[in-house]
Amino acid sequence: MNHDQDETDLYQQKPAIVCRDLRKSYPGKPVVEAVRGLNLQVNRGECFGLLGPNGAGKTTTIEIIEGLLQPSSGDVEVLGRSWTRDGEAIRQRIGVTLQETQLSDKLTVRETLDLFRSFYRTGITVDVAMKSVSLDEKKDARISQLSGGQKQRLAVATALVGDPELLFLDEPTTGLDPTSRRQLWEILRAIRDRGKTILLTTHYMDEAERLCDRVAIVDHGQVIALGTPRELIASVGGDHIVEFSVVAEQHSRADAFRLLALADVTSVRDEVDRWSLNSKMAHHTIPALLSYLEAENLALAGLTTRQASLEDVFVKLTGRNLKEEQTA
């Protein structure tokens, strides 16, 4: 109750989240190892993203950090505290939205927020919470009457009423239309700008790129890459991706080593129906590519160039495609 000032400062100096060698397996016929030795540190005030395909272990990880799941082994520290000793203190200081919660359809926005507000010792008023997620117009609407985006904003508001230091969001924009996604991004940016720490999971690379200060790419229950989106993209070896295809029967006549030797190309991938080049300078690579094709007498069928993205990082690290994983 009576927090010593020094003690509070001590907690403030600790990172928002620390995970050491986190492991979680679910019993089953083949035991599912959802998380396999995951290490993580989230600093105060940053928006941190766990990016990975479906089944990567993001939800399992975030729910362990939220204190909802017991890890099989490993340590978790949240706001400098451990779940076993200071569970109540942590819960008072975090806000959570789960991947799939269907709040009671029959209640209104205000009633729902009044309920969640009553659980916290301190917090913001329900009106402020509604305003911060642009739901003040809908305060007396039943949840059944809300759109998907409005429901998701309400879920965020239920996490905000306790005025948390740390906010958790599991796949906050999955299933939303583009307008609702952008609206939610705005809301989350505003929350981060007020000095809150955010940990979110997503399988959208654009979401991680635009929203997160730092990103951990998660695959098969482990962090396979960590850094700011810029750093991660730079690590692919080039800001640009040049993709081209030749008429199908000539595809195999293009030579990977010759392509790699072209100006400013840092890596080459054979995508079966096309070739993909990482390039430091697209305007150097493209003329060189065209002369190569001319010299080899290959007929160009398609040529695109774009900025490299986290998607390319994932592809480079795993040899798989984030999007393909989702449909599989």
Binding site: R91, E100, T101, L103, S104, T125, D140
Partner: protein, 357 residues
């Protein structure tokens, strides 16, 4: 009138908000409200009418001689319950044996009298014989030796419907507690609301208390509607104090909410909880004396019958409404103790076993 948007009420106690949320959810489902209150009323009405026959059953008499028929007809006219019918001896014997007539009258082989043929093991048959004989003797001029008068027990308080209403009330309390609490819990588990709630600093016991509190609130209109309806339509009135009845009703609601919580504490599908619920309720439907007295079960079964939580609930309600008993008689205290034990055990076990995620 909408409230001005600036008037954000400061939060009340979590139990208040959790309970209000349950009440609002219930009230905003008009069909659920309708069925949970209308069904028991329908049951009282149907059974009350079925067993509340205003006229006594007719006494069926077959006569195998038409001359005799005429003679007796005159004498028995005074009693409208007696219905005479001509029949051949074969027909009449068959009808008597198969219970389609109560009494057979034939001419005596000697003298001018007649013979009653009846089944001494069948109560209707025995009473038909004495009723017919009595009417005949009186019309022939017999006088009663002792003066007597009758008082009917079909007066309010002694009829089947008076017995039935506490049974229906008990059944309503059992169903309401089990379905109301059990269903709500499983639904919240499936929709991940429970998981969302444990991610907040909410105290788990507050959540469980609010389930009980909302159940008590829902039960009060249920009692008022059932008792009010029974009183208005059949004149069913309690002999004992309404306060005592209310205490027992609330204790019952508490007990069955606890049992509902226990049944739902691990279930994670509607099918599973429905199955468990029916399994738990079936023995009480059969053995707890909703529709007839538990005295009819053999002595060997009594320990089981009496320990089922619905039995002491209904018995205590009947003692209050039919006999005017209070709460502090030994038999009543025993019933209250059984109910309280059930509610304590089920609540404690549910709290321990409850699965939130």
């Amino acid at each position: 009138m909408t409230q001005p948007s600036s008037s954000s009420s400061s939060p009340q106690h979590p139990i208040y908000h959790l309970t209000m949320a349950r009440i609002m959810e219930f009230l905003r489902q008009p069909d659920a409200v309708f069925w949970s209150y209308f069904f028991p009323v329908l049951m009282v009405l149907a059974l009350g009418l079925a067993f509340n026959k205003r006229q006594e059953p007719p006494v069926l008499v077959d006569i195998v001689d038409s001359q005799l028929h005429e003679k007796l007809n005159e004498a028995l006219k005074a009693n409208p319950r007696i219905q005479l019918k001509d029949a051949s001896i074969e027909q009449a014997t068959l009808r008597l044996r198969t219970g389609r007539t109560d009494l057979l009258i034939e001419k005596a082989t000697e003298g001018s009298g007649h013979v009653y043929v009846f089944d001494p093991l069948r109560p209707e048959s025995v009473s038909a014989r004495s009723l017919v004989d009595d009417s005949l003797q009186r019309s022939a001029g017999r006088k009663d030796a002792v003066e007597v008068s009758d008082r009917s027990t079909s007066d309010a308080g002694g009829r089947y419907v008076d017995f039935l209403v506490p049974g229906i009330l008990g059944m309503n309390i059992m169903g309401g507690g089990l379905w109301g609490v059990g269903f709500a819990v499983v639904q919240m588990r499936i929709r991940k609301v429970l998981k969302r709630l444990v991610a907040t600093p909410m105290k788990k016991s507050h959540f469980l208390w609010s389930l009980l509190a909302s159940r008590l609130v829902f039960q009060i209109p249920g009692v008022v509607i059932i008792l009010g309806f029974a009183w208005l339509t059949f004149g069913v009135a309690a002999q004992g104090s309404m306060m005592a009845a209310l205490v027992v009703v609330l204790l019952g609601a508490l007990t069955f909410s606890g049992i509902g919580m226990l049944v739902a504490c691990r279930a994670n599908s509607i099918e599973m909880v429905s199955g468990l619920m029916n399994l738990v309720m079936l023995p009480m439907w059969l053995f707890s004396g909703i529709f007839f007295s538990t005295d009819r079960f053999p002595d060997a079964m009594q320990p089981i019958v009496q320990i089922l939580p619905l039995t002491p609930l209904i018995s205590a309600l009947r003692a209050i409404t039919l006999e005017g008993a209070g709460l502090f008689e030994p038999a009543q205290l025993m019933r209250i103790a059984i109910l309280a034990t059930w509610s304590l055990i089920s609540f404690a076990v549910a709290l321990k076993w409850f699965r939130w995620t």
